[in-house]
């Protein structure tokens, strides 16, 4: 029972990645559109897109870390 609860908690915390995935796709869309409009600035746009994607990805990484903590720290206490 406790194991199942822990697994459920870990799965829930990993679900932060769901929204992050959608909106990182939006970053890519915006980058592709603006490179299409202005191909000369592609280098700058690429850098900005990577930074934006990385910063928004942090959120998903936090969720992943929490689920690792649940599995490896709380799971060991069982």
């Amino acid at each position: 029972m406790e194991v199942a609860l822990l697994a459920f908690a870990a799965a829930l915390s990993v679900m932060t990645g769901m929204v992050t995935g959608i909106f990182e796709g939006k970053v890519a869309i915006a980058a592709v559109e603006s490179i299409g409009k202005n191909p000369d600035a592609s280098g700058k746009i690429q850098g900005m897109a990577i930074i934006g994607a990385a910063i928004s990805e942090t959120c998903a990484i936090y969720g992943l870390l929490v689920s690792f903590l649940i599995i490896f720290v709380l799971g060991n206490k069982l």
Binding site: A54, T58, I61
Partner: protein, 229 residues
């Protein structure tokens, strides 16, 4: 009293030794190089790398700082990149240990404060903690701590996620290939599937995270400076 050494420390030493050997090799090539001739091979790659890093730093900060800051940025970049891809050499990544990434992020945060103080002067620096008005000191402190946390946790989380996923996938493939008879527990699916995943999790993700850490460090420092010219 016996001192217990964590296994990660050995991996950190291994990566440091690897980088030292690599740099000694590059140094011996650079010493033989004739400055008037055309650069080739290792020398050319080094020149391009140095130029690329100086360009990145100059874009985000100003010209005077670029010469001061780019050696540090290059050092951090080389260290993070070699430790990220050390999963390919059957080592555990030192960046998969939170102490290492926290140290690297703490150096960046101290540099941000130092350059901010240098540019603003003592009075302006103290005033910058209380901007826009006095009660905001709490929010400023929280934002400084969150810079440290996000820089260190981003790198740590990405690398540890990659290495744990690789371990899980190896275990899964081993249990699948144990179903095939006459193989004597030889992990045949691991040989087929793992190289592709190593390419993604170690090489691609490692290079990406290095780039992101370097770019974010430089732009956090550049944010504290007067506008680019």
């Amino acid at each position: 009293m016996a001192v217990e050494i964590q296994p990660t420390v050995y991996y950190i030493w291994a990566v440091t030794g690897l980088i030292a050997l690599l740099l000694l090799f590059i140094n011996s090539r650079l010493r033989k190089f004739d400055p008037l001739s055309k650069p080739t091979g290792v020398v050319l790659v080094c020149m391009m790398a140095v130029q690329a890093i100086e360009n990145i730093v100059r874009e985000k900060t100003n010209k005077d700082l670029a010469r001061k800051l780019s050696p540090y940025i290059a050092t951090v970049g080389i260290y993070i990149f070699i430790s990220n891809i050390s999963g390919l050499l059957a080592l555990e990544s030192p960046t998969g240990n939170f102490s290492v990434t926290l140290t690297l992020a703490a150096i960046t945060c101290i540099l941000i404060e130092v350059f901010s103080a240098e540019y603003r002067g003592a009075k302006g620096y103290i005033k910058s903690w209380f901007e826009p008005f006095i009660p905001f000191v709490l929010i400023n402190i929280i934002s400084k701590i969150s810079t440290l946390a996000s820089l260190s946790l981003r790198l740590f989380g990405n690398i540890i996620a990659g290495s744990i996923l690789m371990k899980v996938i190896y275990a899964m493939l081993a249990s699948i290939s144990s179903l095939i008879p006459f193989l004597h527990d030889f992990n045949i699916f691991g040989v087929i599937v793992a190289p592709v995943l190593h390419f993604y999790f170690d090489l691609f993700s490692g290079a990406m995270q290095t780039y992101i850490f370097v770019i974010l460090s430089v732009s956090f420092i550049g944010k504290e400076l007067p506008s680019n010219d």
